[in-house]
């Protein structure tokens, strides 16, 4: 599969949020304002890219040669948790403005299932190194896209008369359903 196709498929056709249901928690939690949705999306994309590189190296250079693939989950989640901390410290030292935009979202990313899902999918589909990097970028772009569209809709929704019992989580789910329906339109493209 060409890299472009892989990127497009991860970002649009098989969108992580809307067709794999990964990263629903931030999707519901951090999608009230477009500005915070953009920051969260950038933070997730950044961590996804690093995770794709590091977990690929760990799986293929450590777990496979030593025949301990069974430790896949334990090692991936530990690596992701410490990676997020490392990235947070690094950004705080290196760039104050970047830290102010992304800072509060970084700790949340550890328990974002999209990150672990990314690592698991690239092992499951047996991606080569560059494929898994492109896959990580695409998944991050797709996550950002879904989050930003959702935040845009929710900003408008504040002015809409929503039935009492649907306010909050209920209407968010219904809107997400509509979005997922729209994204299904891309299904035939690949």
């Amino acid at each position: 599969m060409s890299y472009f196709l892989l990127f497009f498929s991860a970002a649009i056709v098989n969108n992580f949020v809307l067709s794999y249901f990964l990263g629903i928690c931030p999707f519901v939690g951090v999608s009230k304002r477009v500005s915070s949705a953009v920051s969260m999306g950038m933070a997730v994309t950044f961590v996804m890219l690093i995770t794709a590189v590091v977990t690929w190296l760990i799986y293929h250079l450590i777990l496979v040669p030593f025949k301990v693939e069974i430790l896949e989950y334990v090692s991936f989640i530990l690596v992701i948790a410490s990676l997020v901390q490392l990235v947070e410290m690094f950004i705080r030292k290196m760039s104050k403005p970047l830290y102010d935009t992304l800072g509060i979202y970084l700790p949340l990313i550890t328990t974002n299932c999209a990150i672990l899902g990314l690592a698991l999918f690239s092992v499951l589909r047996d991606y080569a190194f560059w494929e898994s990097v492109v896959f990580g970028l695409g998944a991050g772009a797709g996550f950002t896209l879904a989050l930003v569209i959702m935040a845009g809709i929710r900003e408008e929704l504040e002015l809409a008369p929503i039935p009492k019992y649907f306010q909050g989580a209920g209407i968010t789910m219904i809107v997400a359903g509509g979005l997922a329906l729209a994204f299904m339109g891309f299904a035939g493209m690949i």
């Binding site: 809307l18 928690c25 069974i70 410490s82 328990t111 299932c113 672990l116 649907f166």
Partner: protein
């Protein structure tokens, strides 16, 4: 800090009042992803409950030995270990279910219900209470998954647990077993739960009766 609820209340609260999905909106990823059939929902719920129970047992037993600063990392390692156990068990004994659920079984590691219960409950309470609390939460989670899975399977394939319920006259609503159906069904269920829990409604009901 230990909880003052009676042992029975410790179990009951997870079923409805503090139900992990309906009340706290935790664990939404598996809730939405695997509920295209009742059986998948049940399998996912059982696997999650197993991990929840065993890690609660382990963490409440070790709660005085885990240093406070590294507790989250410790919990994650314990949870990931039990998830590996559940994953290998399903792959060995129920290969069909394991293949259907795919990466969603390993993703139990990042299910916020499990980490949330460890942080909020098992790390502060004894083994007995922690197990009851986890069992309540687990059963509450299974209930939501099975209800959601049954509704989607009934409307999307005309069956429940694989048994045909609706006859040949019924045209399956394909959309219900596809991703949008999951969001729509859960949205409507949450609205129904809000309606049921509405204090003004129950007050009105009491006045009438």
């Amino acid at each position: 800090m230990s909880s003052s609820l009676s042992l029975k209340a410790e179990f009951i609260k997870g079923l409805w009042k503090e139900n992990p999905v309906m009340a706290s909106l935790l664990g939404l990823c598996p809730t939405l992803a695997v509920t295209n059939a009742s059986m998948n929902g049940l399998a996912m719920g059982l696997a999650t409950t197993f991990v929840l129970l065993s890690s609660s047992l382990m963490i409440s037993a070790l709660r005085n030995f885990i240093p406070h600063q590294v507790r989250i990392a410790g919990y994650i390692v314990i949870i990931a270990t039990f998830v590996t156990v559940a994953d290998r068990f399903l792959a060995a004994y129920f290969p069909a279910i394991s293949a259907t659920l795919g990466p969603y079984i390993p993703l139990i590691v990042v299910n916020c219900i499990i980490l949330g219960r460890q942080e909020a409950f098992s790390s502060r309470n004894g083994i007995g209470r922690s197990l009851l609390d986890s069992l309540g939460m687990g059963v509450g989670f299974i209930m939501v998954l099975v209800v959601l899975g049954s509704i989607r399977e009934l409307l999307g394939s005309g069956s429940i647990f694989g048994f045909a319920i609706l006859g040949d006259w019924f045209t399956p609503w394909m959309v219900m077993i596809l991703p949008p159906g999951a969001f729509l069904t859960l949205g409507i269920l949450i609205a129904l739960a809000n309606w049921y829990n509405d204090p003004s409604r129950s007050k009105a009901r009491k006045v009438v009766s």
